[in-house]
């Protein structure tokens, strides 16, 4: 008899595997730009599935959300701060 927690964790695992298969198929079938969008969207969904369900973030206090999200926000600021560099100097080896 599978308990509800185990069934839930298994369901998440099936979703993760499905998204991996989707990403791999996209990389072979779709044009490059569309494939990249789908692949990285799938990666974000996979990360959210793991964080919310396996790390139990969906039941956590705001302080724990803050500890996870503040460094992520800093990383995104870092990325956008560097955008002009590769937009205007785009010829590196």
């Amino acid at each position: 008899m599978i308990n509800p927690h185990t069934r839930h964790y298994l369901a998440i695992w099936y979703w993760l595997m499905g998204l991996v298969i989707l990403s791999v198929l996209a990389s072979f079938i779709l044009p490059k730009t569309q494939a990249l969008i789908l692949i990285f969207a799938a990666a974000v969904v996979k990360a959210l599935l793991v964080a919310r369900n396996y790390m139990h973030l969906k039941n956590e206090k705001p302080i724990i959300y803050a500890m996870a999200l503040v460094p992520l926000a800093l990383i995104l600021i870092f990325l956008f701060a560097l955008f002009p560099d590769f937009v205007y100097h785009s010829t590196r080896p």
Partner: protein, 184 residues
């Protein structure tokens, strides 16, 4: 575990995990910036072994499920099951490292070294640092597995949750490394 019951060490573990995000995030963002500006990176990445990386993705995602099941088993106070799931997580982690070692060997034999170019420096830097994190997780999980086998884990079973949080972060990092290096 609800938000109202915070086990000892949980805030500390999250604080540690949040300090890991800039480490890997900085590497990943730098990689993206260089790759978008580079011209020969796609050719370099085509030499990577996609099949091994796909197997490793399967191993790591599955190990995330087994460790969260170990955590679930601690709430049921079934420490035999905790030991079994921790053992499965350790084996899957060792499988990941073994496959990574095979992949590195193939690449070294083909002449692709960390000094072979900036793509390879990033590749070995990011995957090597990630592999070290997997190794650290395996060591922690092995200590917990021994404690589960000897019965001492029942006095501090919350440590399985903390070890699981770390392991899931390692899994999430791979979730992004796999498409960045092997699919993009």
């Amino acid at each position: 575990m609800t938000g109202a019951e915070v086990p000892p060490g949980k805030y500390g573990t999250w604080w540690f995990l949040s300090s890991e995000i800039p480490v890997f995030g900085g590497l990943i963002i730098s990689y993206i910036v260089f790759r978008l500006g580079g011209t020969s990176w796609h050719e370099a990445s085509s030499h990577l072994n996609f099949n091994i990386a796909l197997i490793n993705t399967f191993l790591l995602l599955t190990s995330s499920m087994t460790i969260v099941m170990a955590h679930g088993a601690t709430e049921e106070k079934d420490f035999r099951k905790v030991g079994s799931f921790l053992g499965a997580t350790i084996i899957l982690g060792l499988g990941f490292l073994a496959m990574k070692a095979v992949e590195y060997t193939i690449e070294f034999k083909a002449g692709f070294l960390p000094s072979s170019g900036i793509f390879w420096s990033f590749y070995y830097g990011m995957t090597g640092l990630h592999a070290l994190h997997v190794l650290a997780g395996i060591i922690v999980n092995t200590v917990l597995w021994i404690q589960a086998r000897t019965g001492t884990l029942r006095h501090h079973s919350h440590r399985v949750e903390l070890a699981g949080l770390y392991w899931h972060l390692v899994d999430i990092i791979w979730i992004f490394l796999f498409p960045l290096l092997y699919l993009a």
